[in-house]
Symmetry: C2
Subunit: 496 residues, 2 copies
């Protein structure tokens, strides 16, 4: 039985931010181990949550049990691995310059570390009810950084969100966290989000969703009296470049990989390949024919919620209606009302370059193949694209060496560059970059996946001339926390 | 003979940004050693610049030769030390996660490094004609990061700026840098800056100056179709808290230190202590008396330019006219037309808390002593202050332990926290944090002094599944550049 929650009132929102401000001041003094233990407690409880959590998520998101279970497992892994990173402390980038009284003038002793930025507001995403929502990556990073969190549940899975929130609250109590360390609010309208971003106690925002939504939060963040960073991940078309040498030998294999990648999770991933770009050739025709055959065989699947199905149908239709766009194939199985129909279309590079509507993301199982007459058009397409989360090169080593300018241009538009693979599937590890130049995200300098995501919610503070006994443990001479530190510009292991 | 330069035309600005865009694409492929050699060549030529440079700067800024010579030496040191940091490569934060084919699903190999963000526009500052202007910290950091630079000269020292620019251009030619690696433009009006920030090729901005100027650039940067980071350092009042135990024994010594710090360089430092906060006491009265005596003995000095003298006189006058503000002392020597008059005033905490005008920076040799009736007022003042570059605690260890909430509150408002010292004098080293919460700067997460300033002009790029031969040297298996890297989340020295 799904419950309908009321929107948080302005008074509730203000209270949530006030106690988050107080909690942040207490929590920032908690040790790295205490923060990590709290995160691990949430992970443990999430891992052992009863059946109701998955069944509720299935009912709200229409995602299959298997996908939800693996997303939950990923969320548990995120919490545990960011907890480990938190305790290890590399993200604090501790740097110590020792004093030198003999220098003229004497050099003061200066020690720098990262400190928490303050209360973080997290907006749950529609397509990841666990990994990018209530106890997801933004929340985990903020807790590791030492910040209190206020989550606004995504209205499309508010019951799932509430169950996860209850579990976080229980873990907070068990770990003796300060009151206000975590608050969960509901709000279907724009006003809840606006009030949260504009509240003076809010010090940073995490968001995953549409361009319109993310850009609005970003603008509000910048228009405050004291602006704050808004980390919005706003989607991507994830261009895939098929280079001729690779296509020649592997066109069938690539078609198979991409039929799966385009339609995985009914195309509802921010890393879904939405553009496939190649030179006109017989092999490209063969690739298209195989891809078309495979797409016809893939069943439509239910989408996350009616709003997303409607948007997909409209954007798909509009894209297909554009002058010069030709539908190549769609699923041979008729889509029911809430389902997304796997679809592949094609267009010439010339027309693509002239029509910016074709550059936009169609969120769902749709991809557009761009056919280029020559290398100049290939390069022109790469240079015409906006910022992307990912770009992919399907290429032999020879292809890469023969298309140096193209590879250089592609590096400038993305955060992650895949070689002979698919962009779907975002590995949770320290080297992951999930973020890219605007409009993929509002800040290409940070990642929302991997423990480096903690760096979004901290800022440096330098201590000059402080006596050892007054310094935080992170900066003390004896290095009691045994963390890696840079001393006089040299990286030093914990034992030194 | 000072030359009067014409403002750059819109066509010249567009051309400068276009060639900067092209140069950035070439320069980003230059090795770390090539970048470092270029920076060292500039440093060498600046160090050996002929007499005309200092005499021109003296004529334009009215700063004394000694100060200008030491600022030039600091600029040379910045270029050399950031060049060393550039070559060492720690700032690239290389992280490698190796693939694991045995895992289910297989883990892809992912390697991440920082890449240059693209052309950087630098606005010269009025108060640092060398260290924060043409070949200053922003320019040095951008070159280290791999970015082309376009400098807009500060109109108050355009001849000095031109001489330094000529020297950079010569070094660029000597080092075979791409055309457009550095462009120097003049522009006294607001339009030059606006066009530079809004140009699509501009990818980041560095600025040191007034709040009005910096905030305007920041807003333009955010309002672009594709927003860009604007790093504006916009001033600070640098509060100094005198705690009772320390004041009891050292009031005379502190008064001596602060008479110098408030008036150093005619108070024209962004780290000048503009507020001194203490509990009412006999010792505070003694401190004030000694400080007053010393201020009376300090001569007024010529300020940077007539606009700054005018602003100082007006702001000083307005501050002194506020209800409850009492002038304590001013220099006993009459100020000439372009000179700034050393001045100390005092006010009660209660009035300070009610009058936000008193929280604003008075750029010049002026400081306000805030007298608090009790610890609650002391804490209230700390909490009422806006973001600061620095804060200072003059305190014994006992004082610190007895004022824990106060120390906690001060940590939240500043980027650098000095213990028993003065905020003037910004050490150039890796542990320095020169930046603080808004409105001290537009982005508290970065520093504009020290080699960590390079991080302002880069963003991460992850390579997934790339063959070793196609990876940049920074990421290759053999670690040919011999840099520190993190491998599978463990920091590893170059030889591993």
């Amino acid at each position: 039985m799904l419950h309908k929650f009321n929107d948080a009132t302005p008074v509730e929102i203000d209270e949530a931010m006030q106690i988050a401000g107080e909690a942040s001041q207490a929590y920032r003094k908690f040790s790295l181990k205490q923060r990590a233990d709290f995160m691990k407690a949430i992970a443990h409880d999430l891992e052992n949550a009863d059946e109701l959590l998955i069944s509720t998520a299935m009912e709200e998101t229409h995602l299959p049990a298997g996908r939800l279970q693996s997303e939950k497992a990923r969320t548990v892994f995120q919490l545990n691995s960011y907890a480990e990173a938190c305790e290890k402390g590399d993200w604090m980038q501790v740097s110590i310059d020792t004093e030198d009284q003999k220098r003229n003038p004497p050099k003061p002793g200066i020690r720098k570390m990262m400190i928490p930025i303050g209360p973080v507001v997290v907006f749950g995403s529609s397509n990841f009810p666990f990994a990018y929502s209530t106890a997801g990556g933004d929340t985990a990073c903020a807790f590791a950084a030492g910040c209190a969190v206020v989550v606004k549940a995504h209205p499309a899975h508010s019951n799932t969100s509430q169950l996860v929130a209850d579990l976080i609250m229980k873990a907070a109590e068990k770990c003796n966290m300060p009151k206000g360390i975590f608050t969960h609010l509901h709000g279907a309208g724009i006003e809840t989000g606006k009030q949260l971003v504009l509240h003076p106690e809010t010090k940073a925002v995490g968001f995953t969703g549409s361009f319109a939504g993310g850009k609005q939060l970003y603008d509000w963040g910048n228009q405050r009296k004291a602006p704050i960073p808004v980390f919005a991940e706003m989607g991507s078309v994830n261009p895939v470049f098929l280079l001729p040498g690779k296509l020649k030998t592997d066109h069938d294999e690539i078609a198979g990989m991409y039929a799966v990648s385009v339609t995985l999770g009914v195309g509802q991933f921010c890393t879904k390949p939405g553009l496939i770009i190649a030179l006109e050739s017989d092999e490209l025709n063969k690739f298209i024919a195989t891809l078309a055959q495979k797409i016809k065989e893939i069943s439509p699947g239910p989408m996350l919620h009616p709003g997303i199905t409607k948007a997909f149908n409209e954007k798909r239709q509009k894209a297909l209606e554009q002058n010069g766009v030709k539908e190549v194939a769609e699923s041979g199985i008729i889509a029911k009302g809430n389902e997304g129909l796997p679809t592949i279309a094609t267009v010439s590079a010339q027309i693509f370059l002239e029509n910016s509507l074709l550059h936009e993301e169609v969120f769902g199982p749709y991809s557009l193949i761009i056919q280029c007459k020559n290398n100049d058009e290939l390069l022109a397409v790469a240079k015409a694209l906006e910022g992307q989360l990912t770009a992919t090169l399907m290429a032999t080593v020879d292809d890469m060496n023969q298309h140096e300018s193209l590879v250089d241009a592609i590096k400038e538009i993305c955060g992650r560059l895949i070689y002979n693979g698919v962009p779907t599937g975002v590995e949770v590890c320290l080297s992951m970059q999930h973020g890219g130049p605007f409009p993929a995200t509002t800040d290409s300098r940070f990642t929302s996946v991997g423990a480096d995501g903690i760096k979004r919610f901290v800022r440096p503070l330098a201590f000059q001339n402080w006596p050892d006994e007054l310094l935080p443990d992170e900066l003390k001479d004896g290095n009691p926390l045994k963390i890696w530190r840079t001393i006089n510009a040299e990286i030093r292991p914990p034992q030194l």
